[in-house]
């Protein structure tokens, strides 16, 4: 990853395993295919992130 960061000049962000991302996307995308979907508040989304252990400044929604 260090080579990629040096090559692109991008700052180091957050590193997430496939397992953790799979744990996140299931609640994150739950209900979004439904016609009754009316969005999600930042607080609701923040709780989903926290439940899978994604906390800290990088993961702050507001």
């Amino acid at each position: 990853m260090n080579d990629w960061l040096a090559r692109t000049g991008h700052p180091r962000g957050a590193v997430v395993s496939f397992e953790q991302m799979w744990a996140l996307v299931q609640p994150w995308y739950a209900g979004r295919m439904e016609p009754k979907w009316r969005g999600r508040t930042a607080a609701e989304a923040q709780k989903i992130l926290e439940k899978v252990g994604l906390t800290g400044p990088f993961w702050e929604l507001s």
Partner: protein, 153 residues
């Protein structure tokens, strides 16, 4: 996150139409087809898309004439090709590559490549279980700024 207060019922119907089309075909619907399906005009669809963009629900193309993103789906080719039992689609990123099977409640297999090494990378969900190559997902943009430049994110 959504600030849905200004979104109309027609806007939500536009959103639903987009997601249903992606879910069934893997592709984005054309604005004309949406207008015909929803009994509106293409101008009304464009206005709805702008409100849905401001609510972080849909990203239209920069010219407003097509659907760019309805996360996890991409309306344009990307490096994340996801095969599901019923269709093949493009996801916007590695996050969304796993988002496709999550949102559809199906299996979904992604063929991509490692951004650093260029090596082919396969991962996804088979029989409901996460499988594939080892790897990590590096996210550059803090999530609170994801929609500041959704294309880069």
């Amino acid at each position: 996150m959504s600030s849905a207060g200004q979104i109309t019922d027609f806007d939500w119907a536009v959103r639903t139409n987009i997601y249903q089309f992606f879910g069934e075909s893997g592709r984005a619907p054309a604005l004309g087809a949406m207008a015909a399906a929803l009994g509106g005009t293409e101008h009304q669809i464009r206005v709805s898309l702008q409100r849905l963009f401001e609510a972080h629900e849909i990203a239209p193309s920069p010219d407003g004439n097509a659907i760019w993103m309805a996360n996890p789906f991409s309306g344009v080719p990307t490096d994340y090709v996801v095969e599901t039992p019923d269709m093949t689609c493009y996801a916007n990123c590695a996050w969304d590559a796993l988002g496709v099977p999550a949102i559809l409640g199906t299996d979904g297999w992604t063929r991509s490549h490692c951004a650093e090494s260029g090596e082919q990378l396969e991962f996804g969900v088979r029989d409901g279980l996460l499988e594939g190559d080892d790897g990590v997902i590096h996210l550059v943009t803090p999530i609170g700024h994801a929609w500041d430049d959704i294309g880069f994110t």
